[in-house]
Symmetry: C2
Subunit: 188 residues, 2 copies
C-alpha cells in the first residue's frame, strides 16, 4: 500500500502552494517538483487534482481550528475572556510570515458555485469555527450563545478581509474593541 508519509509530503506542499498562489494558479507539476515526488505517486494517492484540493482543504481546516482552540485556550481559562482572545489569535495570524488571507474565502472565490465541493467545505469550515465560538459563549453564560457567536464571527470575517485585502493587520484589535458591546449585552 502507498506510504502515508508520501501522501503527507504531497498534501503539505500543496497546502503551501495553493495557499500562496491559488488553486487554479498552481499546477500539478509544480507540486510534485516541490514535494520531490513523481507524478505517478501523486496520482496513486489522489484520483484527480480536485481530490487533492479537497484533501488540502480538509487538512487546513483541521490545522487552523486546532490552532485557534489551542491558542485561545492557552491565553486564558476564563470563558468570557476567551471570547476576546480569539481576536488576539487573529492578530498573531495576520502577522505571520506568508499570511495570505483565509484559505477558505480564497477557495470560495475560485470555486464560486455553492454546490462545488470546495465551496461547501469552505462554508462548513466557517460553520465549525462559529460552533467553537458558540461553545465558549455557552460556557461564559451568554443568554443567546448562537446569536453572540454569529456576531463575533462576523467581526472576525470582517477583520480578515481588512487584514488581507487592505493590508491592515491591526484590524483584529479594532474588531476586538467592537466585540465589547455584544459580549456585555449577552453577559449582563
Amino acid at each position: 500500500m502507498p506510504s502515508p508519509s508520501k501522501r503527507d509530503q504531497i498534501v503539505d506542499k500543496a497546502l503551501q502552494l495553493f495557499y500562496r498562489q491559488g488553486f487554479n494558479g498552481t499546477g500539478v507539476d509544480t507540486i510534485i517538483t516541490e514535494a520531490g515526488v513523481s507524478k505517478k505517486t501523486l496520482y496513486s494517492h489522489f484520483r484527480t487534482k480536485d481530490e487533492l484540493i479537497l484533501a488540502t482543504l480538509r487538512k487546513r481546516d483541521e490545522l487552523f481550528r486546532n490552532n485557534l482552540m489551542r491558542e485561545t485556550e492557552r491565553r486564558t481559562s476564563d470563558p468570557r475572556e476567551r471570547l476576546f482572545a480569539v481576536f488576539d489569535f487573529l492578530t498573531g495570524w495576520f502577522h505571520e510570515e506568508g499570511f495570505s488571507g483565509c484559505m477558505f474565502i480564497n477557495a470560495a472565490a475560485e470555486f464560486a458555485e455553492p454546490s462545488h465541493p470546495s465551496h461547501k467545505i469552505s462554508a462548513e469550515h466557517k460553520r465549525l469555527v462559529e460552533d467553537y465560538i458558540r461553545q465558549q459563549a455557552e460556557l461564559a453564560g451568554a443568554k443567546d450563545p448562537a446569536a453572540l457567536a454569529g456576531e463575533l464571527n462576523l467581526l472576525m470575517e470582517g477583520a480578515i478581509v481588512y487584514a488581507y485585502v487592505m493590508g491592515d493587520k491591526e484590524a483584529a484589535a479594532r474588531a476586538k474593541q467592537m466585540a465589547r458591546p455584544f459580549v456585555e449585552r449577552q453577559l449582563a
Copy 2:
C-alpha cells in the same frame, strides 16, 4: 482609432465572466467568443490579459460605488439613516441573481501578492467605499467619522463573507443591527 464601443463590449463581457468564473478560470478565447469579437481586436485594445483584468476591475469599482451611492441616497436623505441604509443596499445585492461575492475580495484571493496591480486596485476600492461612509458619517455629525466608517465597513465586509461563503443572504440585516451601538455612540 479603435471604436470605443468594441472596447466596452469586451470589458462588459469580461466583467461577467471574470466575476462568475474567476480570472485564472476564464480564458481569453471564451471572452472573445462571448463578446463576439476577434482576438486581434481584443489585443488591439489591451496589450495583455492582465491589462484587461485591470480595466474590468476599474469599471467594476466605478459601477459598484455608483450603485452604492445611488441606492443609499435614494433610500433616505437623512445622513444618520444613510449609515444604516448601506446595509439595505447589501441585502439587495446579495439577493441579485448571479451574486458571486465581492469581486475585489475574489481578485485579492487570486492575486495574493499585495504589490500586484489587481490586489492594489482591490485595496483602493475598499478604501474608496470606506471614504464614502466617512463622508456620510461627517454629514451625520459623528464625533470621529473616520473611526465610525472603519467600524461600519468592517461590518459590511463581514456580511459579504457570510453571504458569499456561507450563503447567508440575511447577514446584512444582522450587520445592520450590529451597527446600532457604534452609530449611537458617535451621535450621542
